[in-house]
Symmetry: D3
């Protein structure tokens, strides 16, 4: 993760996560270890997958003690195997113990997302269709989860409501039609924004193209409708297919030649990748 993003954005969440886990002190550790003692512990992988979030894992420990050192054998985005040694963490044993759970909670979740994203992205390989995430992220985890999607081979849709324009049915209703909505957006939004319109019928698709939409989302359409829509659009706008992609239906979508396919499951339903800190020992 970019160090500037870490400083300005990620750090505040990481600190909150640590405060969630330690609101006065780590009672157990302090009871048995009243003083600093140097040690190390090994980060092991317990499932095959894509590793993601190593700098965040490291940051957790360094926020507790900047002198903690992490030596990595892998880097973010690497494929890792069950049993593989990923890193060694060295420092005050109290820090290793008190930071363990929070560090692993980030790493296991981000790696789970990267792993799942990777498996879907593989299905799109060789096609012109790009895999996108959505805003269906876990609260307070977006900066991390969208990063994990990229590591898994996906691309990011807009980051939030401020940096992308997506006109949905009710925006269109409020504006009085597709054309009016696109015009209102073009007049109001910072001019560096592309304008995306959600459509459910071919009529709406036609209207959106004519209004000059930059991107047209094809929502809840059958494969046949989508194919017609793509033909109708004919390169005048980019196309996004949103919805439940499965191994079964993915081929249809890519055959149609939709530019983008977005999936909320990448961030909201990926199971974690199991990682673990083992073999803590004192070092002199």
């Amino acid at each position: 993760m970019n160090p500037i993003t870490m400083q300005l954005v990620a750090d505040k969440y990481i600190r909150l996560a640590l405060e969630e886990d330690i609101n006065s002190e780590d009672v157990t550790t302090n009871a048995v270890m009243p003083h600093a003692k140097m040690g190390q512990v090994e980060l092991l992988c317990k499932e095959d997958g894509i590793i993601a979030g190593l700098q965040i894992f490291e940051r957790v420990f360094q926020m507790l003690d900047p002198k903690t050192e992490v030596v990595f054998d892998v880097q973010d985005g690497d494929e890792v195997k069950n049993g593989q040694h990923l890193a060694t963490v060295k420092g005050d044993i109290r820090v290793l113990l008190s930071g363990e759970r929070t560090a692993l909670n980030y790493l296991q979740r981000l790696s789970g997302i990267a792993t799942y994203t990777h498996s879907v992205a593989e299905l799109l390989k060789g096609t012109k269709t790009t895999l996108l995430d959505t805003r269906k992220t876990t609260p307070c985890m977006r900066i991390f989860e969208k990063y994990a999607v990229r590591l898994g081979g996906g691309s990011n849709h807009r980051y939030n409501l401020s940096d992308g324009v997506l006109l949905k049915d009710n925006h269109i209703d409020a504006a009085g039609g597709v054309r009016q909505a696109v015009e209102a957006a073009r007049a109001y939004a910072p001019f560096v924004r592309k304008i995306e319109v959600e459509t459910e019928t071919l009529d709406q698709v036609r209207e959106a193209v004519e209004a000059g939409a930059d991107i047209i989302m094809l929502d809840n359409m059958t494969a046949e409708q989508m194919a017609e829509a793509v033909t109708l659009i004919n390169g005048r706008a980019q196309t996004e297919c949103s919805g439940n992609i499965t191994k079964e239906n993915i081929k249809k979508i890519t055959d149609i030649g939709v530019d983008f396919v977005s999936s909320g499951a990448l961030t909201h339903s990926a199971p974690i990748l199991d990682v673990s800190l083992k073999h803590l020992r004192v070092v002199e």
Copy 2:
């Protein structure tokens, strides 16, 4: 969720989640709706499960505008069905649109956890064994996720490192043995804490009982070892079995009579429950 917890604890995360999604403004909504207009939208369930997080869902909208009203047809912990109408949200349409994603992100995740927890808790029904969560929660989501576990029929293990004592192998090593570790904990920790010891062998179990541990965790033991351990402990301490419970092995554990079984998957790997806001319309 208790309103005091909401005020003092949950609110700061909810606000961060909203700020994550709106860092300057909701460009799309503001482009087409320059002024307030009253409307309502329906919360629908799209999968069977246990609903969890309704007050948090409501709070998201009320944080944007305290005048937003939510009328619920169900309450937290209720079983809900695909297609069921759950609630109506009424207010400034800009608020309904700008808060939608964040509100749903909380609700779908918490309901997913409650639903999954419920399915596991059902397996323990009629036994003396209680289902527990762990600290393997999503960062910045613990207050919400542990609440969802309770709604699903699970119980909470310690909240964090400050409010429970759990002596693991490296704590025991640091103290010089099980007895010494328990004594150190008893001397140091606030006296209202129970003291739990993680054990991997029957010798450790024996030592822990004799040292006066309040709870003994049986880690990585076979069903046979666990049975022996429970016999050996003979009610002198509570017992917790930690690890991967499955529909297959659950009966063995409950037959043995372990008091508690804890599962990280409740919070780290439950898929979401699909919920959706539909049918937005203007109301006078």
Copy 3:
């Protein structure tokens, strides 16, 4: 200003501004007014211009006491005249006195920006060229200053470094050329971002068009070069002229038919518009 933006974004700056002015108490007011007394005070305009920031002015007082009422005679964006009565503020006199300076500091600055922007936007009236602001805003004032620009008849360029792509010379150098830079941006940036390239020569303009840039900034070019560039681009990308526009050179730019002209002076060098609170009196 949109109430959601106020809640989530503006409020934190307004609160800081108040804390800047009152770090323990308003000593003078508390010395002479130990108890609440209701009063009202009149907001008067002391120069001709465009008024901007009325809700922010109101919010300052309501943050001190939500019961404070402001009755406006004008609304944001209106032309106002020297001597005109703009609003009446009613409430606890201590609130009126303690909030006065902070409320006016916002209002006078935002109105100054709107007024200055308006005078420039007038010069572009009837042409196809749109006036843009820049990121040369006062620190901690961007959300307010960009809002004032819109009220004055300008449009907003990107809000910040996260929501727009602008490839400058050193980005291009780092990437190894215009084409490579555009490709890297397209591969990396969320796909809803338009890609803008800064160019200084016609060769760069050509390269940028061919690489598929969405917007081409013409930097430090003479009117003749700009005209050539616009001809060369021929509608395949939008064009932005950045730099010091004056009443003298503005006609040349609009004659050339550049799409956008951006000006840092709108936010960094507009003088304030003089406004004042007068005639405080007790009301029963």
Copy 4:
């Protein structure tokens, strides 16, 4: 700027300013520079003036990466010339690019204020009259702007409502008269505060002197009235003339021998001083 003030006061605003400009990441820079690369860039002056805010300029970069180095050729308060080289910034090029705008936004504004203040202070040279600023500062910029005033040769009036007593007409009305107001203030305010009274007539001046006011502000008086007031006060209190000073009227004021003259324009209407970062290049 004093390093303690930087740590305890300025840092929080600087961080907010950076967060304003980077809410997830610097997309452009990260697209073309995925990894750290060392470089340097030159700070050049583009107008004659007084430079102010160099440590704040430096702090912006060091907040993004503490290893960034800035080598200055000048120091705060120096007169600088168009074209002059002011400093070299060395570090990770991503930091140089991502911090540039925020660093310059501070530097250009503070130097603008110092430059303008200097030009007014020059008019008072050789007289006994001291130039003061006011509380008409830009919200969230007071700590910086008052510092720039000092660098330009001005002095600071009170910092905020908590650390100075200034009894205005409505305070006087509330207290029931000048004497009562001064007495109330003396009884209530921490005894280290001087007490200033705003007067509009000679009667009020007389009352204020007799009540023992430490400072008497002469508001909206003609030169003749001010002269009479100064004679009447006869050294028993300090005198402050508030209001629009111009090159034309300044001589009258200094001839009268008023102790202080305060000007809001120093902070609210000074145009920026143009400074720029140029010639970024990779260094090994």
Copy 5:
């Protein structure tokens, strides 16, 4: 306490105090009271003294639930007696229970300070000497403790290092002498600050008067030295005697005619005043 000070200053400490006491939830209360139930509880005094902090007591409960009502029988600064009924608190019983300890912790401490201050102020009654507090306050309690001193009949010395000038021996050494220090302070500090100098010898007193110090602190002097100092100063500056005042030595100080006497013990060593919430009962 002034409501603006409450909003802008006190609230953040009160919130932190509540978060200190409830970091996830009030487990006990939530276990037995899953739902809201209205009740009331009585605030009783258990010692004679001066009551101080009633609005802060109220604010604690209203921060948990703004609908909580407190009906007071007394007001801040009143003398109260052991056994006296002070107030009734009405609201959700969960709020009454969860806020109790924090509310009382403020009230008992502030009332303790007011009571102790009152007992010292009584000794000065009828003399020209005013009782002052110091900056020896409990961290994060200054806004509250200085308020309690006023309620007890004391006056406030400077609030903090930013709003008062006090030149001590090492400041004087650094400046090169008393005269130089006073001059440096007068040149640098905002002109509304009085300048106080700490002196230990009559020579220093003389130097300070001649340098134009506004206030002279007589530190560690005998009664005889102080008397000489006061004679020497002869009204040209105010005088402050700092140090351990006792019932025994107080008469000497007041006889000498020192203007102010300051005491750290008012805020750092006053014992609490015992107050208690009793007779909680359900109301319909």
Copy 6:
């Protein structure tokens, strides 16, 4: 104090305490010392007692400047004597002066608590009774004050409302009886919490024991009642005597064999221990 607790918990209060004392700058110091100058100052003890809070004292200075060095002659918990040299602080003299008061405010208060706790704990020496603190701590000081209690030889009761269960009369009323309250708590609270019940009569004691309470508080009982209660409980629960212990009554309590005795006075009414920074001098 444990460095992780310092980072995650204590630092935020220390920073607030510094901001309380410096809201713009240390005017006096900056007036006479415009530039850094290295110096040192000595920490001296002015009363006999137990020293507590040395790391916090150090942290105050290091928060202003991380290069400040403190060399200690003693460590937390040591007995110290009037006149004893405790430490030398070295660094930028401006830091030594600006941090002095805040650093001493912490140190004097914590040492006062440790000293007073020690004097009470001595009375319990050789008995089986342990001395406990309460939640009657100064707002925003709990993490520090409970630490000081441990250094003085006391033990900590629960930290806050979230990490311990204590059923008082109104909880019992709400639940419908002692048994019901204990059952509700056991069902609801995280299972690692011990359950404590407050009792006022022997009947309640009996009911609590039978309900399986882990700890029974004997409230407002005579020595005779307590003795009966202890006999009745007979080791089936731990016992806590809460209330005003004095040198006179302490022997009765220890003779009865109560396990714990808790005292609010440890934290709310201990006078400070006088410590002082002296002999500041320049070092090269």
